[in-house]
Each structure stands twice: as C-alpha cells, then as structure tokens.
C-alpha cells in the first residue's frame, strides 16, 4: 500500500517535474522560487490520498502549483518577464551571429505581446501537452473559453509571423 503510493509519487515527479518548474518559473520569473514552489507542490501530493486525486493528477499538480506560485508572487509583488539567463534555451545550436539570436526568439517575442491569459493557455497546451478540459480545470476558465483563447493566440501569431517573413523577404 505504502509502496504503491511512493511509486505513484515518484512517477508523478518524473513526469511533471520539468513542466511544473517551467510553468512556475514563467509565473514567477525566477527559477529558484519556482523550484521551491514545485517542491512544496509535491510535498503536498505526498500528504494527499491518491484516491482523492484519481485520474486528475495533472490538474491537481498544476492547480496547486499555480495557486502557490500566485501566492508567492502576491507576497513578493514582483513580476518580470522571464530572462534568457533564467531559462536557458537548449544550446545545441552552433554559436553564431546576433541576427541568428534575433530570429530565434522572434516567436517568443511575439508571444510576449499576447495577453497573459493567452500565453498561459498556450504554455499549458503546447509545453505541458494538457487537454482543453485539463487546462479549464487548472485555470478555472470554461472549456469554450480555453479553446477561444488558444485559437485567438494562434491567429495572432500566424499573422505576426507572416508579416515578419514578408518584411524579411523585402530586406
């Protein structure tokens, strides 16, 4: 019985740790605080009855993590966008010119111009691979609303990327 629970927690840790840290780091703009929040999230999971979580594990983890992160943020009242140093991108790419770095982050830059709620659902959808329903439970938005936000965000991105590539072509 105890064994089953520990296996469950270790499996949850393996599966969601990375996603949760990135998600919390995005909310908080700080990696170390994000790690603390995620650690606390899993410690709370240890205290939880697996039966009560059921097959809502992802929702449970992201909701708790999100609430904790918002609490921390409220307390510290600091909100700054994630800097490159805080969340390094995978640097398997060859080190090259400045222009390269610019193109690299262009999508991210456009993303930064989106409303915060759109960015959040994009992240939950495309980084954490959660379904509309799971996202809806985490963010307390309706499923329809989640769908609308994602659709709108993608539309904006599409438009921005098209204009950008057109501009580049002219240059």
């Amino acid at each position: 019985m105890e064994d089953a629970k520990s296996t469950w927690i270790v499996a949850a840790l393996d599966q969601y740790e990375g996603h949760l840290v990135r998600y919390a780091a995005w909310i908080l703009g700080d990696l170390e605080r994000a790690r603390e929040v995620v650690q606390e999230t899993f410690l709370r999971l240890c205290r939880e009855q697996p039966a009560r979580v059921g097959d809502h594990l992802a929702q449970w983890l992201f909701t708790v993590c999100r609430n904790l992160a918002f609490d921390v943020r409220k307390k510290e009242n600091r909100m700054s966008p994630l800097k490159a140093e805080t969340l390094p991108t995978t640097c398997d790419r060859p080190a090259t010119s400045l222009e390269h770095e610019e193109t690299m982050s262009h999508v991210l830059r456009v993303m930064e111009t989106l409303p915060k709620n759109q960015r959040e659902v994009l992240r939950l959808k495309f980084q954490c691979d959660l379904s509309y329903k799971e996202i809806s439970e985490i963010t307390k938005l309706s499923v329809t609303n989640v769908g609308f936000l994602i659709h709108t965000a993608i539309k904006t991105l599409r438009k921005e990327m098209l204009t950008e590539s057109a501009k580049r072509r002219i240059q």
Partner: protein
C-alpha cells in the same frame, strides 16, 4: 458552405479536441472547402512551430536535494532504495550486455537508454552513502546528448554501487555484477569501433577509401569530435567527397542514378531552425536533383535519354563543368496503368506530433483524390504489434479509404520488421500484373522492436524486392530520424526515399512525384561515363558518393541500381580538368609511367566524353544501353543555359556546406548571385526558396 476562419473549432480540430460528431462535421467542411483546408493547414503550421519553440526551453527541474526531500517523504522506509538500486544497477549492466551485439541505430538508442536508466536511479535519501552531487539532474539534461566518457562514468558508477551492496545481496547480485563487468568492456569496445568507423575516417586522406571490414582505430580527436557534434539520435553515414581521378588511371566513372531528394529537405530543416547542417547530412546529388530541369521527353525507342551541356566551372574557371541530365519518357497520367499501393505506417508513439502522422494523413487524403477505380490502396500499421488497418480497397471508394486514414492513431513502440513482411504480403496478394505495385513506408525511423538489426532488415527488403513490389520510404520528423537506415531500405527495395518536413513537401512527394514515380518506365538505371584522355586530364563526379558502382557491375544485370518513373529527371555534374591544366588540389600524385599515347587515336573525334546509360524495361531482367557522345564547345559559364547555371549554384552551395576541399572559389555570395541570375520560370517557387536558404546560411556562418 460558409467558412468562418475565426471559429475556434478549426484550432480545436487540429489539436484533437473535438468530439466525434463535431469532427465529422469539420471533416465534411474540409472536403468541400479549400479555404477550410488552408485555415487548418495554417493552424497546423503555427501549432507545430509553437511546440518547437516551447521544446527549445531547456528542461530545468528541481535540484537533487529537493527531489531527495520529496522522495524521502514519499518513501517511509529507507532500506528499500538499496534493493532497488541493486536491481537497477544490474539492469544497466544487462542492458549493456545487449548493446554489445546490436547494430548502429539500436546501439545509439541503447546507449541513450543506458544513460537514462542510470539517470532514473534514486539519489540516497538516508545520507548513508554519497553520490556525485546533482548527478541525476545533470544526466537528465543530457538526455539527447551522449558522450562516451559519460557512459564510462556511468558504468563505473554502476559497478561501484554493486560493490557497495550489503553482504546478503552480494551472493545474488555479485554474480550478475561479474557478468556485467566483462560485457561492459565489450560494449565500450563496440562503441569505439562504431564511432571509429563513422568518425575516424575523416582523418583519412580524401582520396583514400577505407577497405571494407577494416575499421581504423579511433584517433585522439574522437572524444573531441563527439563532444563537438553533440550527438543526438539522428545518424548519418560518413561521406567522403569524390576525389579527382586521372583519366590515365581510370577513364571510366560508373554510378547508379538516384532520384532521392531527402537531403535537401533535411538541410532546409536545419537551416530553418537556424542550425548549420552536419556535413555528412549534405548529399550534393540529392540537392541538385531536388529541382526540376527542362529536358525534353525522349521520343525514340528508349524510355530514357541523356542530355549534356559543358561550360566552365564557376568555382574553378579553368576547369570544365559537365552536366548530364537523364530524362525518362513522360506518360499521360490519365493513361497510367492501375496501381496497387500498400501504405506501411509507423503509428508508434513518436509519430504523434503534428509534423508526422497528422501531416501524413492529410497528404494521403490529397493522394487518394487522384486515385481511380482501377487503383487499390491498403494500409498496414505497425507499432508494438502490426496489423492490416485497411484491406486493399478500390480507389473509387474514397469515403472508405479516407475514413480509414482518419482513424489512424499513434501509440505503442515500433516493430518495423513484422510490419514490412505484412505489407509486402498484402502487396503481393493484390498484385496487379502490368500495373504499379508499391509499398510506401512512412516512419520516423525508429525500429525498436523485432527485426532491428539493420543488416537483417535490408536483407529482408532486398529479398522482398524480387517479388516485383517496389518500396518507397518517407521519413518524418526530427531528432529521431535515421537517415542512413531509411535510405538503405529504399535502395534495397528498388525504391525511392524522401524526407517530409512540411505539408508542401508531403504534397510534392506524394501527389506530384509519387503519382509520377508510381509508373516506373526504366529500372536499374546505371550510368557509365568514359572520358577521352586526349581531351581530359582528370575528372571528379560531384556528389553520388554512396552511389558509386564498380565498373564491372555496369554490365552485370544482377546488380541492383536506381529506377526512373515516368517524366522523372536525374542530373549529375562532373568537374573536368582539361588536358594541359594541372590538378590544383593535389589529391592525386602524378603517375610516372602512365603516358597518354594510347588515347591519340580518338583525338580526331574531338569528343570529351561518352555517356552510356544502361537500363532495364520494368518487366525485363535483361538490360539495354543508350550512348551519347559529348563535345566541349568551350562555352563560358555565363553563356550556359539557365538550368546549367542553377545546378552549378546548387552544387557550389553543397560543397560549401560540406566544407569540401574541392569547393575552389565558391562563396555564399557567389552562390546567391548565380542562383538569382538563373531562377528561370520557377513556377513552384523552389528556386526562390533555395535563394532564401543560402541567405539563411550566410547569416548563420558568415560568407566564406
């Protein structure tokens, strides 16, 4: 029907968020509306771009200490981890034992698996033992990055852990541990051999070929190279540029034609992601042949004809560049014979991402549109188990076929071997005499269950090819993509091979080209070029490095070579050093005794070279040949045809990417200039895209 692109249902459809009824509704609209299809395609592109962007963020997890606290909390007893450790350490060793006997792709994968297994080891929670700090975290970050030292370190760790086992465990585990020690050494040796084979060959002079079966030992640069290349699981065979060969030494160049274009799409993928393509992923002949050139359709009794042109080489003006274009007879597609197609689709978990299975499904539907009632389509899937997903179905029952396509879902691991057998069986049992019989394999190349040994797999395909069923291979996705495996499979299966990176590419290959290659008009097409020593000092075939045939194989009808479909073109470039001009690159020592008298006889002809094509009719086992002699009229590069100049620009770009010793005065600026002046009609915008890619490369590496 009114299509509202603003409706969130399109996005929901792409993301698989609709219920059955809604999905059916959307699909109906997709059938009937081009606008709807465009909207969905755009959303797909945007979503895959987003996924890529998010995937670039590095996985940062908790600190090891934080994980330790959680695990301690989760696990009330502290003795357990020791047992678990022992078991896992044992399995790491056992895993390595297997590694030692596997082929390259599985080897790469297993190495990674071994690292990952170790990475999953629990750190100590009771403080009675020490592990390297943060080791599990670090390893996790390295998942896609393997280096040999790491494996060595892992093995040592695994072994030292076993030595730490409590007495009671020693008896049981000790035995396993001893077994493990020797295989580990074997595994390392095997690794070294493989890596030696793949990378150390670079240290050989460009004109030396390593004798097959003899692996040079890895030089000290190996470790450095491994680090620098940051190996992920994409694998490419090492390619050495064809050297200049003196005509006096060997007047014949013999090679198999090849209509693959996968390398170009792959290069495009790297450049689009702002990465310089690995040198060995650049195959110049595939780049040149990605583009269409205007050769007239042969009218004589032969289904293939050669067209040639000679002008100066833009990167080495005192050298001549010879373009040889082979064109297969065009056949009106309305009159094409019926086809029997069996799709063999990899539905393993790794195919789930939008740029793989979902894109393939869309492309298949486009292709189904073009099928007639005489055509038959079947679908075989493979993952953990393989099965017939759609029995061979007539092309006029488009609803049934489309529904089956839509029902393809991914999940499970891959057993390519069993799937291939099943697909060939399906194809042979529905064989259409006089028609086109083809297995189309779509995969990201991860054959990880069953017949995974590359040798076994290619032998299997080789044997199946004799049944008259051809094999086309479509490679999908990135990161997991086994370039060399797939190409070998296609070669053995008398087929072609394409890398699919965008829906446009899928359409080009499946709809435009596959419907062309569906009809093979000549098979086992081989080219032999004979140079006239009176005119030519030395020559070099650009690209086609892994297409070289032995001269005696040219006339050996049992030797397999490439096939040509109706309307297909193949282009090859030779760089020729005219008589009287010395070879600059110094790759060939001058010969002391071989003088050129014997050639004087043909001098009068003024011919530079002679192109001989050998081919078989699709239903014949005996070959025929066509000859085309070529005279050099001294044309300057600037006066050559548009197609000639464009092909030269592509070759020049390829040589720069390959850092070829023969690139001469090639620069990215010059390539852009040449390509811009040779765009021609460029109906599909392919040449324009090429120019964009060269610009991208210039941004990435500066002009050189």
């Amino acid at each position: 029907m009114n299509i509202t692109p603003d409706d969130p249902k399109w996005t929901a459809y792409v993301l698989g968020e609709l219920n059955e009824a809604e999905r059916a509704q959307v699909e109906q609209e997709l059938e009937s509306s081009a606008l709807a299809r465009e909207v969905v395609e755009e959303i797909r592109l945007a979503t895959s771009m987003l996924k890529r962007e998010f995937a670039k963020e590095q996985t940062v997890g908790l600190a090891a200490a934080q994980r330790g606290v959680i695990r301690a909390k989760a696990e009330p007893t502290h003795v357990r981890p020791i047992f678990r450790w022992a078991a896992v350490a044992g399995s790491v060793a056992a895993g390595l034992f297997v590694v030692a006997s596997l082929s390259i792709p599985s080897l790469l994968r297993s190495r990674q698996a071994a690292v990952e297994t170790t990475a999953a080891l629990a750190p100590p929670v009771d403080g009675t033992r020490t592990t390297p700090s943060e080791s599990d975290r670090d390893l996790k970050k390295q998942r896609t990055v393997f280096n040999r030292q790491k494996l060595e370190a892992e093995i040592q760790q695994a072994q030292s852990r076993e030595q730490l086992l409590p007495q009671g465990q020693q008896g049981q585990q000790g035995q396993q541990g001893q077994q493990a020690a020797a295989p580990s050494a074997n595994a390392l040796e095997a690794l070294q051999r493989q890596e030696g084979a793949r990378f150390a060959m670079k240290s050989l002079a460009a004109d030396e070929r390593a004798p097959s079966g003899v692996f040079p030992t890895a030089p000290t640069a190996l470790a450095d190279r491994l680090d620098r290349r940051q190996l992920n699981t994409e694998s490419y065979d090492y390619i050495s540029d064809n050297p200049f060969i003196r005509v006096a030494q060997d007047p014949l160049a013999t090679f198999s034609i090849d209509v693959d274009t996968a390398s170009y799409a792959n290069i495009r993928r790297f450049l689009t992601n702002n990465q310089t393509p690995p040198k060995d992923s650049v195959r110049i002949e595939e780049m040149i042949n990605y583009f269409t050139y205007d050769y007239p359709s042969p009218t004589g009794r032969h289904p293939v004809a050669a067209y040639t042109e000679v002008a100066s080489a833009p990167w080495q003006p005192d050298h001549r560049l010879v373009r040889i274009g082979i064109k297969a007879k065009e056949i009106d597609t309305a009159k094409r014979p019926p086809s029997n197609l069996v799709f063999l689709i990899d539905v393993s978990g790794s195919m789930a991402t939008p740029e793989k299975l979902p894109m393939l499904k869309n492309a298949m539907k486009l292709m189904v549109d073009k099928l007639g009632e005489g055509d038959h389509v079947a679908i075989v899937t493979y993952a953990g188990a393989s099965g017939v997903h759609l029995r061979s179905t007539s092309g006029d029952r488009k609803d049934v076929i489309n529904a089956a396509i839509e029902n393809l879902n991914s999940g499970g691991s891959t057993n390519g071997g069993a799937g291939i057998v099943l697909a060939y069986d399906t194809a042979t049992s529905n064989f259409i005499r006089g028609g086109t019989n083809r297995v189309i394999l779509a995969t990201d190349g991860d054959f990880n269950v069953g017949v995974t040994n590359q040798g076994d797999l290619t032998r299997l395909i080789d044997e199946k090819a004799k049944s008259g069923v051809f094999l086309s291979v479509l490679g999908f996705g990135m990161g997991n993509y086994k370039d060399s495996t797939l190409e070998k499979l296609a070669d053995k299966g008398n087929g072609n091979y394409a890398y699919i990176d965008t829906i446009n590419e899928a359409r080009k290959v499946l709809v435009e080209e596959m419907m062309g290659t569906l009809l093979t008009v000549a098979k086992d097409v081989k080219i032999q070029v004979e140079f006239n020593p009176a005119m030519v000092n030395a020559y070099r075939l650009i690209g086609y490095e892994n297409r070289a045939l032995r001269h005696e194989d040219f006339n050996d009808d049992r030797k397999d070579a490439g096939d040509m479909g109706a309307g297909q073109t193949v282009t090859a470039l030779f760089e020729v050093v005219p008589r009287g001009v010395e070879i600059q690159t110094g790759s060939v020592d001058s010969l002391r005794y071989q003088q050129l008298e014997k050639s004087a006889r043909r001098d009068a002809s003024g011919e530079m070279l002679n192109v001989r094509i050998r081919y078989k009719q699709p239903d014949s086992d005996a070959s025929q040949s066509v000859e085309t002699p070529v005279v050099d009229r001294g044309t300057a590069y600037g006066n050559a045809s548009v197609d000639f100049r464009f092909a030269a620009a592509v070759a020049s770009f390829g040589m720069i990417l390959r850092e070829s010793p023969y690139k001469g005065q090639s620069t990215l600026d010059a390539v852009i200039d040449m390509a811009e002046r040779s765009r021609g009609a460029d109906r599909n915008g392919y040449r324009d895209e090429f120019i964009q890619l060269v610009r991208k490369a210039r941004l990435l590496r500066g002009n050189q």
